[in-house]
């Protein structure tokens, strides 16, 4: 990495309201290129809402989000996807009727260029697309060690594997920014260790910038370069894992000290 870390995304003074509920109020932070940035906080702190703002699913009432140097106006989620933002969901959001391979192949959809007439005949550019992108998806399948379930409809997979397929699908998009919403929730220790290893590997091998929401403090401390802490929609701390860990406000928030 260079000496002056580049900012990939910056969130400035973002406020998001649902009717009377303020999910996020005046939060600012940035994500640097190539880092793993953790977002933590108690339940209902506004972490998922923040990711939803970043990928255009929610539109904050106030504040600015600047991505790759461009401050964006209201935008649709598929535009965020085309700009290289991928994500996984807190509750698995796979395409249940499709096989693992087809789920991962949807991650390549923006990169497939053959028009419908070629696809009807499945020759020429359409066949080339299928084979070339299949090769890429197979690399990810190898990488995440899910070769054995390629042709299985994902609805039939156990939860832990579904989470892994969801990561694979996001990786297939070759994202510049990967948003992971509690990728290890509900996993056993071994599955968690595997997932940690995958996340670190993704960050190292592909150089992908990652924003990670996670409740397990051990995991957060091991994985992340910097941590931002939210509580009741506000930012209460921001810094390296060690700084955050010893911050009194964070300790209070997690121990539930009344204000």
């Amino acid at each position: 990495m260079s000496d002056t870390p580049q900012t990939l995304l910056s969130v400035e003074n973002v406020t998001l309201k649902f009717g009377g509920v303020t999910a996020i109020s005046g939060v600012s932070f940035d994500i640097r290129k190539g880092e793993i940035r953790a977002i933590i906080g108690p339940n209902g702190a506004g972490k998922t809402s923040m990711l939803n703002c970043i990928n255009g699913f929610y539109h904050p009432q106030e504040g600015r989000i600047t991505y790759k140097g461009e401050t964006r106006e209201r935008m649709r989620p598929h535009v965020a996807a085309s700009q290289g933002i991928a994500r996984t969901f807190q509750n698995v959001a796979l395409f249940r009727g499709m096989t693992t391979l087809d789920n991962i192949m949807t991650g390549r959809t923006l990169k497939m260029k053959a028009n419908i007439f070629w696809q009807m005949l499945r020759i020429g550019p359409a066949l080339k697309d299928e084979i070339q992108h299949r090769e890429y998806c197979e690399e990810i399948i190898d990488f995440l060690e899910i070769e054995h379930i390629r042709k299985v409809p994902v609805g039939r997979l156990p939860y832990g594997l579904q989470k892994r397929v969801e990561l694979a699908r996001a990786l297939a998009m070759q994202p510049d920014l990967l948003l992971l919403d509690e990728p290890m929730a509900g996993m056993n220790l071994e599955e968690k260790q595997d997932m940690c290893r995958f996340i670190l590997d993704v960050n190292k091998t592909y150089g992908t910038t990652i924003a990670l929401i996670e409740h397990d403090m051990g995991v957060v401390m091991d994985l992340s370069d910097r941590v931002v802490v939210l509580e009741y929609g506000r930012k209460i701390a921001d810094g390296t894992p060690d700084e955050v860990k010893s911050d009194q406000k964070v300790i209070d928030a997690y121990l539930g000290v009344p204000h």
């Binding site: 699913f57 598929h78 996807a81 087809d102 696809q119 359409a126 197979e138």
Partner: protein
């Protein structure tokens, strides 16, 4: 160990992505095609039982082929893209009447009668165009409301073809007859010839449909069906995916409608494409298997054969049964099967077939 994929190693992703990756499936499809294209026509030509007269050909095989095609169209929209539609009959009607208009020439714009294949395809394109118009609201309305909107389309077009005389070339009776069935200069008149024409259309369109559903566009349809929010976050534009499904589906249904009118009916009235036809297609898709091309054929076969079985079987075992009872029984059985399948096995016959194959793949070793 007859049905196996072990030992058939794929050396490339191209080999693994061919239409039937397992050799036995490939052979099976070849056999079915050989029977349909060669063996059956020969039997028909020499009037070998059961083809002593044209009954089986005209009352079962021809309707089976054309309705299978329509069911494939309906399945693309309903089964693959998850957009429920009760308007399939209307799109068959649009295909039929527009093919008729193109086939008899549109004098208002100085268009001479067009060749029959061109007319049929233009009938399909007309249906696709209307399909896109009716698909536009699908971005906003979902599920039950979309079903109601497509039902409105059904009644609207029933009315249009009954009342707007232009579509029937101002025929006083309101019924119209197909133009001369000249395919590339060859006049199609016998039942065998009609069967072969239908078979060629169905084979080509089934192949096209299969290619689409296993390619990029098909994955987009299924993604929208399974989880539209996640699909959008993958970069899939919901409106584009839905409208292509509406277009392709309506096109195929329109072509099937034109074939139904030209080959099966010859002379027809708007009633031929009413709400009953839409429901029949919906039943075929549900019973055969949502999201399965094979299922579209199975569903069509079942719905056509059941009433015949209900007449033949009781007659054979000497049970007196009136035609009225038969039609009641038919509804009871359809109703019961649809409830059962929707609860127990939403993927229909096609899924049962697949489970059977999976078992067979393991056989005789269960693990």
């Amino acid at each position: 160990m007859l049905y196996r994929e072990t030992g058939q190693y794929k050396t490339s992703y191209a080999a693994d992505s061919v239409i039937f990756p397992i050799r036995q499936d490939r052979i099976g499809v070849m056999i079915v095609l050989a029977i349909a294209f060669v063996f059956m026509p020969l039997m028909m030509a020499f009037k070998i039982p059961p083809f002593r007269n044209d009954y089986i050909l005209l009352a079962i095989l021809l309707p089976f082929l054309i309705l299978s095609l329509a069911a494939i169209g309906a399945n693309i929209l309903i089964g693959y893209c998850g957009q429920i539609s009760l308007g399939s009959g209307a799109f068959m009607a649009i295909g039929a009447y527009m093919a008729y208009k193109f086939g008899t020439g549109i004098s208002e714009i100085g268009l001479p009668p067009l060749p029959i294949v061109v007319s049929i395809l233009l009938g399909g394109f007309s249906a696709a165009f209307v399909g896109i118009l009716f698909g536009l609201p699908s971005l906003r309305i979902k599920g039950l409301y979309l079903a109601v909107a497509t039902l409105a389309a059904q009644f609207f077009f029933d009315w249009v073809f009954l009342r707007v005389k232009w579509f029937t070339n101002y025929a006083p009776s309101g019924s119209v007859s197909a133009p001369e069935l000249k395919f590339f200069g060859y006049l199609v008149s016998t039942p065998i010839e009609k069967y072969l024409v239908a078979l060629i259309f169905v084979t080509i369109f089934a192949l096209i449909a299969k290619n689409l559903v296993r390619g990029n566009i098909g994955r987009q349809w299924m993604a929208i069906r399974d989880m539209d929010i996640a699909a959008e976050l993958m970069g899939i534009r919901p409106l584009v995916a839905k409208l292509t499904a509406f277009a392709v589906s309506s096109f195929i249904i329109g072509v099937a409608g034109a074939l139904w009118a030209f080959l099966r009916l010859g002379t027809w009235e708007p009633l031929a494409f009413d709400i009953n036809r839409s429901l029949e297609l919906l039943f075929m898709v549900i019973i055969g298997g949502l999201g399965s091309i094979l299922g579209s054929f199975l569903g069509a076969a079942f719905i056509l054969i059941l009433p015949i079985l209900l007449i033949v079987v009781p007659a054979e075992i000497g049970l007196p049964i009136t035609t009225e009872t038969v039609s009641h029984l038919q509804f009871i059985i359809f109703g019961a099967m649809i409830c059962f399948l929707l609860i127990k096995e939403p993927l229909g016959f096609a899924r049962l077939w697949q489970i059977g194959k999976e078992k067979l793949r393991m056989w005789p070793f269960p693990y």
